[in-house]
Point group: D3
């Protein structure tokens, strides 16, 4: 009648997940997938497994992915030089053509990985079903080509795919009112989609541990920020580099109905599972004031 303790531990871990599975049953979670977690093959497989598990235990995940590194690598391959203005890729017509080729291929290879794990997936861009309608984005008033600001999201196709039990995987390409193609920042796309589908959670997989109170002090990682804290944090000029737009997206999402946003370290294997199914928080959670960081046991 004895069982070795390792086995018993397994049961406990599963039981520990119970209240979380219950809480998020049939809720939509949008995962912005990018950075190292997309380059390292093993990390990539871990992320896909995490999302597949979320789907199987009853969540409705949507993946929004980037592909900046792959685009740059192809730009060079055909003898052009990637150019950036204020961190935004200058996207002339040949670059846009290439970006669309690269992103769609990345998109379908993610579909493949999910299908391989036995879950039904469909890869779409912001053109399919008119999902992402954009207008030209200027960088400090300067035209940097086919870079788009999202004007309107038409989530009908996403709802249809979720209803039919598919996992939608979205690449951040949109169209303007002339039906020209535009590159969109993947963080922006994930945030806009999370708002449009009234997601319960929006999780950014990044290459940092989370938000630091002092970027130069790795021990100053912030585990939890309220909406108000985040606004103050920005106002005081503490958010620099790539973190500033990300935080703005977080605030925007929370204000428009998303319940909680996570900035996770995509370099940690299974960071999504750990954040969602255990009380060991990972990275930084941004939440409405008055809510608590950790859920209580049911």
């Amino acid at each position: 009648m004895e069982m070795d303790s390792l086995i018993m531990h397994k049961a406990e871990v599963l039981i520990e997940a119970l209240p979380y599975i219950q809480r998020f049953n049939r809720k939509i979670i949008v995962v912005k997938y990018g950075g190292s977690a997309m380059v390292d093959e093993k990390l990539k497989m871990n992320v896909i497994k995490d999302v597949v598990l979320l789907k199987l235990v009853g969540f409705k995940p949507i993946i929004v992915h980037g592909g900046g590194k792959e685009i740059s690598s192809w730009v060079k391959k055909i003898g052009m030089e990637p150019r950036f203005v204020n961190g935004l890729r200058v996207t002339d017509e040949p670059t846009m053509e290439l970006a669309e080729m690269v992103l769609n291929r990345v998109n379908k290879s993610l579909v493949q990985l999910v299908q391989e794990l036995g879950v039904k997936a469909v890869g779409i861009s912001g053109k399919d079903g008119g999902l992402l309608n954009v207008e030209k984005k200027l960088s400090d008033g300067q035209d940097i080509g086919y870079v788009g600001n999202i004007k309107k999201v038409n989530p009908e196709l996403l709802f249809d795919l979720l209803e039919k039990d598919f996992l939608p995987i979205v690449c951040p390409i949109g169209y303007d009112d002339n039906f020209d193609s535009y590159n969109i920042n993947a963080d922006d796309a994930a945030c806009a989609i999370a708002k449009a589908v009234k997601a319960e959670k929006l999780a950014f997989l990044t290459d940092v541990e989370g938000v630091y109170r002092d970027f130069n002090d790795k021990s100053s990682l912030i585990s939890e920020l309220t909406l108000e804290d985040a606004e103050k944090f920005i106002a005081e000029g503490n958010a620099g580099g790539g973190m500033l737009p990300k935080l703005k997206n977080c605030i925007d999402a929370l204000q428009e109905g998303v319940s909680r946003v996570h900035i996770l370290d995509g370099r940690i294997p299974h960071c999504l599972l750990l954040e969602i199914f255990t009380n060991k928080g990972i990275g930084t959670a941004i939440l409405k004031s008055g809510e608590e960081r950790y859920y209580h046991e049911v």
Copy 2:
């Protein structure tokens, strides 16, 4: 970027469950619940948590429970003496009345535990919706009162409750063609229901480790029996005591469409989870010949 190994282990356990969750998505599993696991309060809570987890990750569990000990205790309480013939309770009219009272109360207290964990449950007997229609069962030709053999199962109510996302909990009371009430052996009820709903799995929670090749040699536990093995095992007279009818039920269920039957040791905490979600098999599995004991990783 480091995480302590305990945490990482948690993720691995969850990921290990992935292929099983996938395999049994929307499948019906009938759990015969009885013995020690119903008496010990802690074991009881573990069983309920296991079943609730199964439900939340996408299974459709049905609980069929017994209550023999509680019935005997009440029989004595009102000054009568429990009597058994060949292991079957002699069930005169006052005993039947009491049995029905006791079993229905046990039934609703299990409903309560499931509801407490946030999952919707309904407690029914074999009278509700005409679920279990019986005829009188004789013991070696002897009339032992209101003890029923199941003639017909009408699973409509079970399907309706599953469709509406309730967890059905069944107590083994039936009615004959004169609409008199009958006590039914809970193993028989679980087996008949598993066949009628075409369950994927039927699991018996018992007070033994499983089937022993030699009952007196605890080291002779059989991990796996094919249908043919089981028939041979019985034919050779190896199955004695309570195991004989149980094995006959197992064979019957496998022949009528249930995919796999498990005899589990209900005294092991979370034996259901461990059997279903890990490669560490518990107790004895009876399966069709040609199938393998452990599922391969997806």
Copy 3:
């Protein structure tokens, strides 16, 4: 071409029922079933036949039953003495356990009778699907044990069963926020359920003819009371004994959306049918002011 007059009369009775059948098509009627009509076997069968007929001609009946006499009889059987404070049963833990056993058995035997007449029924308590959530009820500030006041009704299971064409039969047991079991007055339960499902009618089967203007003068039976009349009647201290809480329930139900409440004499065979399908009113009807006692012919 002649038919004897008895036969012709039959046709007229059926035709007389036409406007009532039409008026209550697919409407919910909650029947509080208790008293003599539950003890006398013949009266019991009449009530069940009436409710079955209501169901077959298109109503959606819900039965809520009591069982006080049966509980008292069992309390004595095991050597305890029933105790009451202000008409409420003092319900310590052993009494509660017994009450739950008795009421659930009564519940399933009513299910059996309905099933026997060919109509699908399901017996539930206030625990199933979380139907009746209570808090402890004090009697003049005194703790009398597990006696519950209904705080919240969750009618989801009732609607699901009605949709699937089952006749729900409810026994008045609830649970508090600690998931302990409580006994509930059946009148209170019927009233709370009628409000929660927005019943068209609520009918109490009682052991009196109806409401008397002067309880000692049997000729002072009131056929019709408006809501205002009933409030005045109470204010003037005319309602005594068991009638006071019943009238309060009637007023409560009418104020919360139930269209009409009936206090019927359960000792009259088929009182339900007669009240509903003929212009010969039975007992006392409580209705909103401005409405009329008898429906006009269509």
Copy 4:
């Protein structure tokens, strides 16, 4: 606590109807309506009330009506002379035009009566939704104009109307493959429709008491005929006049899936109700051999 006996009798009549209501729940009954019951205003209202009651208690009735007398009266009104060959109306083009006008008006006036009683009705002819496709019917090889034999029934519109809870009322006009209009014998239309919708019952309202063994001996009314009896009855030349084609229709309907056919005396008020809801059979029932005339109590 006393009730006068008349009132109690009412309850008994309703309860007596219980098993019949149960047995025919959601079953289709086709009523061929014609003869005196269509001419006498009081009998007409009785028939309509009967059918409305059948609908309200759960049947799905379809009325098929004739209108021969009204047609003849209009033929004379415009100065023509009605002509018949072997009992079939010679239907030249002007007669057909008039017949269609008359029958459609009769049709809509029946719709009106049903609507007046609060039940939704729709009046259609065999043209609507392509219901009744015919070919020319010859009378002993003689062309008698636009008189149709039914070739094919398309019951889709009937099923759609029943699904949407309308009572369909059909007038017996059809179309041939050139889309010309044809008059159809109403008995034939009722029979063909009953077969196409797999009706449970087909009832002919006629101007005779039923089938007589000897037409000249009114005491020889046959209460019950099996299919085989009826065939023998015809073979022996006992069926004459209008009864011969009617009996052939009855046999045809029984052979094609209708469960029971009734030849009722439409001059008896509420003959439909009496036949269906009481054990006092009216007229002649034709049934498959082996079945019994009267249903046993449930």
Copy 5:
């Protein structure tokens, strides 16, 4: 690889229809059908073909037809004299009876034509499903018999038929609160129905080219009128004869949710198709101010 130009032109015509088909997909269009287009067999077939085409390319058409000429012709046939007061037919009981006969026959012959083209149709009057409830209409205070003003439209049957993919064809007969039958002006019926079903378009097929600014100057045909223009046009006394009530109906329809009303010349073959599918407007369009006469190409 050459194709003759005629063939190429065909493709262009089809392509030209594309934006209109798109714009009106699943929209309801009510067509008031009367006048010459109902008398001339060839024009009649053209109208039916047009409506059938509208249905097949995705519209949901409803036909409302008149039949004044046919009624008058039958009134004379039976030796009566048609009488009119202020353009309204004096409708005594025999006239009403005849009108109902004639209109229902016209109705079913239209059903026949549509069915012949392979589209499912059902002919109904305002009695079916209680569609058109009226009150007596007086002519300058004078009782002119069974002429009805529409009080209430119950569009349930129309929606049911459209859902089941039938083309409803309505004849303008209604019922008052005593369930007497009334003749209704077909323009009024079409307008009331268009409002009740929230039609996208209402088209009147007439015997004039459209609205003339000066009725005596055929060159003054008005192609487009805004709601305000139409009101002013009436106020200035420019609308005479049959055009005045028609224009009032147009205004009423536009104010109650219909998007656009057309007065078309039914004598032009395929005027419906030409108006709807080409930029060559036919007759007079009445639209809300601010909208444009011709749709722009997509």
Copy 6:
């Protein structure tokens, strides 16, 4: 009342389309789109408009497209040389990567054109939803890389998208059992999909007029081939070049349930519309023997 003849002609063209629209209502048509019609911008827009029109008038079109020229052009752009063996592209890993990039971009640009015309479209590859499962295709026993033979089609995603009213656009990329990516001949993909969805029609847009009896004699174009003719034609060695595999696909499709296959000249503007909506056949139709080339007027 006169209309110029050009306008009247428009109406006639639309009416001419009526029987075809009717015949193909809700039928699936698979269009293989490739060749010149994909290169010339004006022809491309014509094809898209044709397919959009088909969708709007009630068909359910699915586009399967190629992209060989675009792939070759990109292969050269990155400094490689396209290689072919027996007309099949040698597809090493870098070529496959590029092919996937190019085809997916072509795919989404077609989505864009359809969306621009107001119709909902989704672009998928054979990976999405596991649509196209392949095995390696050898060319005369020689391994030519990632070129796939279709083993299995899973049409679930296509049916889901059609149900939700999207126009699916498919690019011919598949996956083998190791989940590697493969290039598929677009004709093969179109044929396999047409069979899997039981398409009514399969149309190949090509760069030839159709099938010539003698390829060198342009006057020997065959308008119509029965299945048997086609088999004989191949057996006699008359089908050469690209026509041989295409004809084999045609025969395969007809044998597996597709009703008719068309080889159309994609260089003729609107060839799809002309073939489908007029009696002027375009190219070569392959049909089952016994069927006729042109449909008769309804």
